[in-house]
């Protein structure tokens, strides 16, 4: 099934023409509505009239997560708040969140894109779908919710955190589809097995995203639950889930290209690479009103394929992700930067600024341990004080990351001091192939 055949199957020429027209309009819109872009364009000597087609995009400046931070919270919005109907936020590299705003039209397009993705996976109005992403500032829950609702499926807004309730309702409601992170789904499959419910579920499809996963995990999910699993991609800065999704042929993720123009950049020169070559993915939001972004660098490493797919769609596909350009981690679907831990620990006098994050996956659930050194000045002979300190640090980290971590206090001077770039993370998960 294809949700929007006109847009998803248009010829490459038609797509290029549509993207060109939309880019020209976008550049004009941003120049006149976002001071930051106006100044940025003026500084490189580009006026709206200089952009005549999608090929001219290479002359436009990039946007980064730091630009969003520097203009926190609403500095990059192109409309007054009276036209913003929803705010979402994700982790910034330091204390400040990355904030995005949506107009009513933005939300409609978002739902349209998610509807395309879920239809790609096989979801129809006859399905009962459990949305098991977190609902809230995170785009996962509400984004998937609106898309499934647009299709007309029966939406069960589970959110996260109660696996037992989820499995019970999966059986009782006869759920046929689920949207959640792939690691959470593997965990759910274990809960189902423990409860002896595996043969009672009616699940057919899973739309998984918000974190990278390997082909091995994909196969494992499919065989354990006897379902078809699909990879959905997105990021809040660009929109949220639904920027791209893979079809039943699993030959890369189809990008909703009429709304998000993808580029893959050489990491050193930042010029676009040839299709098939790996580089950093960047998006230009062609139709967004609330917070449109030009050439937003995602820091995700992938490659592009613009050849037609067997499914009939002509949209460009991005390959399974090959890694990150920066040190961002995705833990239980939450974006985490080591610098956030660093900033949080500064508030705690009793420990030194040295820390080590150990990320692992136990029973398919991500775990985060943060090791910190006790400061000499606060050395104590009482267990109680160390335990209280452990709790205090765990609380500070929870506040900073929105994620619970196990805190381990280690001997002073025991964490490795490296020369040059410090290593703060040991990630024992296998998230990327090759």
């Amino acid at each position: 099934m294809i949700w929007n055949e006109t847009k998803e199957c248009m010829s490459r020429d038609q797509m290029t023409a549509l993207q060109s027209a939309r880019l020209v309009k976008l550049v004009d819109y941003m120049y006149h509505n976002v001071e930051f872009y106006r100044k940025k364009m003026q500084s490189v000597g580009i006026m709206p009239g200089d952009v005549k087609s999608i090929e001219d995009i290479v002359n436009l400046p990039f946007t980064t997560k730091d630009d969003l931070r520097d203009n926190y919270p609403f500095g990059l919005f192109a409309v007054p708040n009276s036209q913003i109907v929803r705010i979402h936020a994700s982790s910034g590299t330091t204390g400040k969140a990355t904030v995005v705003g949506y107009t009513r039209k933005d939300l409609d397009i978002w739902a349209e894109c998610v509807a395309r993705c879920m239809t790609m996976a096989g979801v129809t109005k006859d399905d009962v779908i459990q949305i098991a992403y977190g609902y809230g500032l995170f785009t996962g829950g509400l984004g998937a919710h609106d898309g499934a609702q647009k299709i007309g499926a029966t939406v069960v807004p589970m959110s996260t955190g109660n696996s037992k309730k989820l499995t019970t309702m999966m059986v009782d409601f006869g759920a046929t589809a689920i949207a959640c992170t792939p690691s959470y789904l593997l965990h759910i499959s274990e809960v189902l097995a423990e409860e002896g419910l595996l043969d009672q579920i009616k699940l057919k499809y899973a739309i998984c995203g918000a974190e990278p996963w390997t082909e091995k995990m994909h196969k494992e999910i499919e065989s354990r639950l006897n379902i078809k699993a699909f990879d959905i991609y997105g990021l809040s800065e660009v929109m949220g889930p639904g920027v791209a999704c893979d079809c039943e042929y699993h030959r890369g993720l189809h990008v909703c290209e009429d709304h998000f123009y993808p580029e893959v950049l050489n990491s050193a020169t930042l010029s676009p690479v040839a299709d098939g070559e790996t580089g950093e993915l960047a998006f230009t939001t062609l139709t967004k009103e609330g917070i449109p972004l030009i050439r937003y660098r995602t820091k995700d490493l992938t490659s592009l394929d613009r050849t037609p797919c067997e499914c009939g769609r002509t949209s460009a596909r991005i390959s399974r992700f090959k890694g990150r350009v920066d040190d961002m981690l995705i833990i239980r679907g939450v974006n985490v930067f080591p610098s956030q831990i660093e900033a949080a620990l500064v508030e705690v006098d009793e420990v030194t600024p040295h820390y080590m994050m150990i990320v692992d996956r136990v029973n398919n659930l991500d775990t985060l341990e943060v090791q910190v050194e006790l400061d000499q000045k606060y050395y104590t002979d009482e267990v109680r004080k160390i335990e209280a300190l452990t709790k205090k640090i765990a609380h500070v980290i929870q506040q900073a990351l929105g994620l619970s971590a196990k805190v381990k206090i280690v001997e002073p001077q025991s964490l490795v001091r490296s020369q040059g770039k410090a290593v703060h993370v040991i990630d024992n998960r296998k998230l990327y192939e090759n």
């Binding site: 050395y379 002979d381 009482e382 267990v383 160390i386 381990k408 206090i409 280690v410 001997e411 002073p412």
Partner: protein, 142 residues
């Protein structure tokens, strides 16, 4: 009067305790008593040694952090109920006991190492009640 206790924070790793004890041995520090408070992640090794200051120095030189803290080492007669008598006096004065462990330095009577929430106050109570406590100097001569 107070005695000095040497405390070492030790991660739960095989051989770590032995390394600490090795440093003390190499510097001729004699351990008179010890208590190891253990949790799942770490242990606090509390030591009464003949020379706590020297012990701390030796540990620091070898990369171990440690802490010197004041504790009371109290003589208790070898008689049923004598420890309880002592605690009763401390309790009546509203002082909490953080931890306590035994020390054996002579055969006629027993000793306890006691760390209270208010070390000064306990010391005063003990003096007022004529209880014998041991000083650092005495420990050094043992």
């Amino acid at each position: 009067m107070f005695a000095k206790q040497l405390t070492v924070f030790i991660e739960n790793r095989t051989g770590r305790l032995s390394e600490v004890l090795g440093v003390l041995k190499d510097h001729n520090i004699n351990i008179l008593s010890l208590s190891l408070a253990d949790t799942t992640e770490f242990g606090l090794l509390r030591l009464i040694v003949n020379n706590a200051a020297q012990g701390k120095e030796a540990l620091t030189e070898n990369g171990f952090s440690s802490l010197l803290s004041d504790v009371s080492i109290i003589q208790i007669p070898h008689k049923s109920g004598s420890l309880r008598e002592l605690l009763k006096v401390i309790d009546e004065n509203g002082v909490n006991i953080e931890y306590m462990y035994g020390l054996s330095i002579e055969s006629d009577s027993a000793y306890v190492v006691l760390k209270a929430s208010d070390v000064e106050k306990v010391d005063k109570i003990l003096t007022e009640n004529g209880v014998r406590t041991i000083s650092c100097e005495e420990l050094a001569n043992l």
